[in-house]
């Protein structure tokens, strides 16, 4: 069946087109709108987009396949990106991935059998000071350990993604889970240093180091 955007989103497209001197420049934002509605960039979406912007389907496909965030096959209800680049790995990124694979019952690159979660490995997500972290759908969850991760995943199942994000996502506070008071941050380490008052208190030392 042919793909069509909702009338509301169509109006957004009309506005998008005014932002750029060339029609083609709306391609990425338009693909985002479609993916948000459809969940992935299906062949029907490619047809729709190429007609809307007067581009060949090959051109549109070429762009879709270049970018990792455009899905060219269907994904689960929630997409979990686990960061495995150095800063996260130094703070336990691999343990986070292992735990997710056990919990969701699928390895990275696959979707859980109930269709609720697709697990993907991510490259650095610009949250290195709050490692380890995962991105679920379009929200970040930082300063993780496996207990917190369990709560976050469970909340996605029992309460839904939006409520889980409200409770656990760390964007608005730049690191601290929303429910933790911002004032728990330690004082600046030196008078001229300005610590961004958001991360939880300094991590306890790893087991075995000083004990």
């Amino acid at each position: 069946m042919a793909f069509a955007l909702t009338p509301e989103r169509e109006r957004e497209v009309d506005e998008l087109l005014t932002r750029y001197p060339e029609r083609r420049a709306s391609l990425l934002p338009l693909l985002w709108l479609c993916q948000r509605q459809n969940g992935w960039i299906s062949p029907e979406v490619v047809d729709y987009v190429s007609q809307r912007l007067d581009l060949s389907t090959a051109t549109v496909r070429g762009v879709v396949t270049f970018y990792t965030m455009f899905f060219d096959e269907p994904v689960g209800e929630n997409v979990v990106w686990v960061c495995r680049t150095l800063s996260c790995d130094l703070r336990g990124g691999k343990a986070i991935q292992d735990h997710l694979e056990n919990k969701l019952g699928c390895t990275a690159g696959h979707t859980s059998s109930d269709g609720k979660f697709t697990l993907l490995k991510a490259e650095c997500l610009a949250a290195c000071g709050q490692a380890p972290m995962v991105q679920i759908n379009d929200r970040y969850y930082e300063n993780l350990d496996v207990e917190l991760l369990d709560q976050i995943i469970d909340a996605h199942v029992t309460k839904g993604a939006e409520e889980a994000a409200r409770e656990f996502s760390t964007h608005a506070t730049f690191g601290a889970p929303t429910k933790a008071p911002i004032s728990t941050a330690p004082p600046p380490p030196s008078p001229e240093a300005v610590r961004l008052a958001s991360q939880p208190p300094p991590a306890p030392d790893p087991v075995g180091d000083e004990s």
């Binding site: 420049a25 693909l31 070429g62 150095l86 996502s169 730049f174 911002i182």
Partner: protein
């Protein structure tokens, strides 16, 4: 040498709901933009930015004032300002804080910058993962427009300014400025050959200034204080002001800090970031994002002659050299994005190197053979070394592959891959040789020291 006792860039971060325009304005937002647009000539604004010695905060450290000076638009040209918020260099997490916690500072900086360079449109290119930052920026832009600071007559003057957010979709290479311009035009994010440089022929074929988020966000302070005074906040010459420093990895207190340009890595780790996790020894630190060659605290600066740029630090540890664009270049590394990755003695450098090379293999855009193939070969060789399938010659093979990548490609990505690899092999050669002989036992893999903490088992 002066140190600000009060924060500048981050001064509004701690305010409740700092991203709302009313709260930001109560704390001073848009006052400088209003004064600049209504009473200062664009040429004077450009002059102050030049005097401020802002070294680009996106990684290359090019002076912003000089870049702006390259603009020479024809009578029918539309000049564009493009703000690089792709922030994807591993280890780097500073620009996100500006967008999430003080979007109005970025918008104010963009308004002043557009006016100064004669641009009517600015695009902020945000990496796709940062949907939250995109929402923050869009709300802030709408509020600024509603307040009359953007649109056909910002602050009542006859110089239209519009700011649009453009969202990427997951590709590190789109941080490279010409790849970013292609992506903004709706193309695959593949870098373009330079010249022509963006200031001559950029987005939509028009003269374009590409600057990092932080570079633009300091502009209001520069105009408020005056370029000379702002520049003098730094401890170094020709590299002005204050900047955001990030620290991740094995420190007690990872996070972002604002400090003058020119603090040392030792200060950053031990004073700002609370020292090493578990008081373990510092083994290595990647100073400014993964493309900057690693520093080894045991190595001493060798600059016995008085005319050598680092002579003042002769005999001191690499981590005691002030962090500046020029000092770090003289040290054989780069300041990059000024976000450090700190590693303690549990980390095996071959494994750390492999982790980063996998990143580059994944992110190469594939246009140039030395880069596309080279990144893959590096990972293959490193995988073999780690798994105990390596040979002694493999260590030199890594160096050889890297040397053939450097300078042979369209963009600086290949150099940004080869340089850190060469740094690792040069400074930690013993470990590579060891790995070639024995492979890496699983328990020296670098996540294990913190694994138990994350897993919460005794």
């Amino acid at each position: 040498m002066s140190n600000p006792t009060k924060p500048l860039l981050t001064t509004r971060y701690g305010i409740a709901e700092s991203w709302k325009i009313a709260n930001a304005e109560r704390a001073g937002a848009y006052r400088v933009a209003k004064r600049a647009l209504t009473s200062i000539e664009p040429a004077k604004l450009k002059g102050e930015v030049k005097k401020a010695n802002i070294r680009g905060r996106g990684g290359a450290g090019f002076p912003a004032g000089v870049k702006w000076g390259f603009l020479n638009p024809g009578p029918d040209d539309q000049v564009y300002l493009v703000i690089n918020a792709d922030e994807s260099e591993p280890g780097t997490f500073k620009d996100r804080s500006l967008m999430d916690l003080d979007p109005h500072r970025l918008i104010e900086g963009a308004i002043i910058s557009c006016y100064a360079i004669g641009s009517h449109v600015a695009y902020i290119y945000v990496r796709g993962e940062l949907a939250f930052s995109v929402a923050r920026l869009e709300e802030a832009i709408a509020d600024a427009r509603h307040a009359g600071y953007l649109g056909a007559r910002p602050f009542g003057i006859d110089h239209e300014i519009e700011i649009y957010v453009h969202t990427g979709a997951g590709a590190y290479i789109c941080g490279e400025e010409t790849a970013l311009l292609n992506s903004l035009e709706g193309r695959r994010g593949e870098p373009r050959l330079k010249p022509p440089f963006p200031a001559v022929k950029g987005v939509f074929g028009m003269p374009t200034i590409v600057n990092n988020v932080e570079t633009i966000a300091v502009v209001p302070d520069v105009i408020e204080m005056g370029g000379d005074a702002w520049s003098a906040l730094s401890r170094l010459p020709a590299d002005g002001g204050v900047r955001l420093y990030g620290v991740s990895g094995h420190v007690r207190n990872p996070g972002l800090f604002e400090a003058p340009v020119g603090i040392t890595m030792r200060e950053l780790i031990y004073d700002y970031a609370g020292g090493m996790l578990g008081s373990r020894p510092l083994k290595a630190v990647i100073p400014g994002g993964s493309s900057t060659p690693v520093l080894d605290p045991r190595r001493l600066v060798d600059a016995p002659e008085e005319d050598q740029p680092l002579h003042a630090w002769h005999g001191k540890s690499e981590i005691d050299v002030p962090m500046g664009v020029d000092t770090y270049r003289a040290l054989g590394t780069m300041l990059g994005t000024c976000c450090a990755i700190v590693m303690d003695d549990t980390v095996n450098m071959v494994e750390a190197c492999r982790n980063l090379m996998r990143f580059y293999k994944h992110e190469s855009c594939g246009q140039c053979t030395p880069c596309r193939e080279g990144t893959g070969w590096l990972v293959d060789v490193l995988d073999n070394l780690c798994a105990g399938r390596g040979k002694l010659e493999d260590v030199d093979l890594l160096v050889d592959i890297s040397n053939n990548m450097m300078g042979n490609t369209i963009c600086a990505f290949a150099d940004g891959t080869a340089m850190p690899l060469l740094g690792f092999v040069q400074k930690f050669r013993d470990e590579f040789i060891d790995a070639a002989r024995n492979g890496l036992p699983v328990d020296v893999r670098h996540d294990d020291s913190v694994r138990r903490k994350v897993e919460k088992v005794a």
